[in-house]
Symmetry: C2
Subunit: 299 residues, 2 copies
Amino acid sequence: MNIFGAVESGGTKFVCMVATGPDNILAETRFPTTDPDETLRKTVDFFVENRQDYPLKALGIGTFGPMDLDPKSPTFGFITTTPKAGWNQTDITGILAAALKIPVAVDTDVNAAALGEHRWGAAQGLDPMIYITIGTGIGAGGIYHGKPMHGLVHPEVGHIRIPHDRNVDPFEGICPYHKDCLEGLASGKALEKRWGQPAKSLPDGHPAWELEADYLALALVNLICALSPKRIVLGGGVMKQDHLLSMVRRRVQHLLNNYIQSPIILHNIQEYIVPPGLKGRSGGLGAIALAIDLFDQSR
Amino acid sequence: MNIFGAVESGGTKFVCMVATGPDNILAETRFPTTDPDETLRKTVDFFVENRQDYPLKALGIGTFGPMDLDPKSPTFGFITTTPKAGWNQTDITGILAAALKIPVAVDTDVNAAALGEHRWGAAQGLDPMIYITIGTGIGAGGIYHGKPMHGLVHPEVGHIRIPHDRNVDPFEGICPYHKDCLEGLASGKALEKRWGQPAKSLPDGHPAWELEADYLALALVNLICALSPKRIVLGGGVMKQDHLLSMVRRRVQHLLNNYIQSPIILHNIQEYIVPPGLKGRSGGLGAIALAIDLFDQSR
């Protein structure tokens, strides 16, 4: 059995994993994201400590961004213009490849999570599909015609613009670039700012959730109309509110208003807009899938 | 030289073409779209009349929709739930294949136009790219990772939701499904309804154009954030207003507000959002490209 490594590099925590696949996770650790030196040293240490038992064929990284995914660029694999203190222009890919001396594949955290859910999770084998995380921030990745979605850069779904009726919701939004883009209105951070308490402490019947479902549904409608995915996986901390998912589904149907004549949207939307299948490991296992694909391509 | 046929099936007119490629168009005709029997008979007649001089290896069709593009579906290649009188559930693909007895490839009109512009036009070799038509209606197609964009169905970009400030624009929108979706606010038909005169008769300094540029820019920002295309081609009758394109570009830059740190968006947006390169033949030549690809795959 070939063994692979995964790094899920998040803005608040790092998860490192050694596995052969989703059913055989051999080692795993998580620690807070501090400065790049300390955080990447801990990452290297984890894989070095496990090296004797679990020698790796390749490493996959799914990281927060924005990042440079242009293979022809001198800063390929770098975290680029992040506002996160200390991480601006960090060559996460090169540093880990040099320290561990194994092939390294890299993508955004959300593309890794999408790949994980596409390979082994709630959207297995479905192409195109998208994975959206609604947490502190909002982001999305996807698989389109067999590969993670990249283009000029990578999708930045958190920053799409949606209708915002200030008579209903006078909150101006928190995005430092766009104020009331999707992330500015509907991220966990926006919920906390608007309602003066953390999203997870807002009770089920709170008006926050109707508004949140409406904003998320408007975003999903736009992604359905732009991409026509075969399944949408919704992850992230805000989606842990169980009742929110069914509110979003109903609202998507209402907004589409029978325009898209697809049975799964009209009659089985609970199979179309779904929670992750990999239980908190979408990104980590997606990074394992990145490593496997890199290894397979190089053989 | 292999010769191919193309059908650009539009809601108001049909264009039929015989060509070997963009620089060698051998025959071409156009006629109004009436009922399916008459329109498809004229289509067949054109290719039959030309058959002796120009025997075809394959035919490509780019058609208005919505259409069924699922190869496993019994209604594959059909125009499906169109409101266009008489065309509901029309097997355009099967009828032309049976009459002409040649292989037929089919896609949406906008995916065909995208393929044409990607193969030979203003987005040559750029992947992903999108083509948007802003005419009587609004639609988009694209190439993503080598192939036209299909998924659950096909993109329906005309129906994305964008911010609509009723204090600035009290017009309620004309989409029969969604009222003030993109098409409901910014299509040629919407312009005509809102301002009481055809779009093309509105003078350059008319306030209609600021509003139109704003709506189109909001839609482009959403597509940039969702898809990250390497180039966007804007076609259709409404875009024939020369000054509109530069207004849209400026407004896209303003709305993105330097968030996407890509030099072409920051400094060369005139090379990023561009008019079609195939001068009214994006769709027809795209259908030729569909036919060529089908022929190449079958060899």
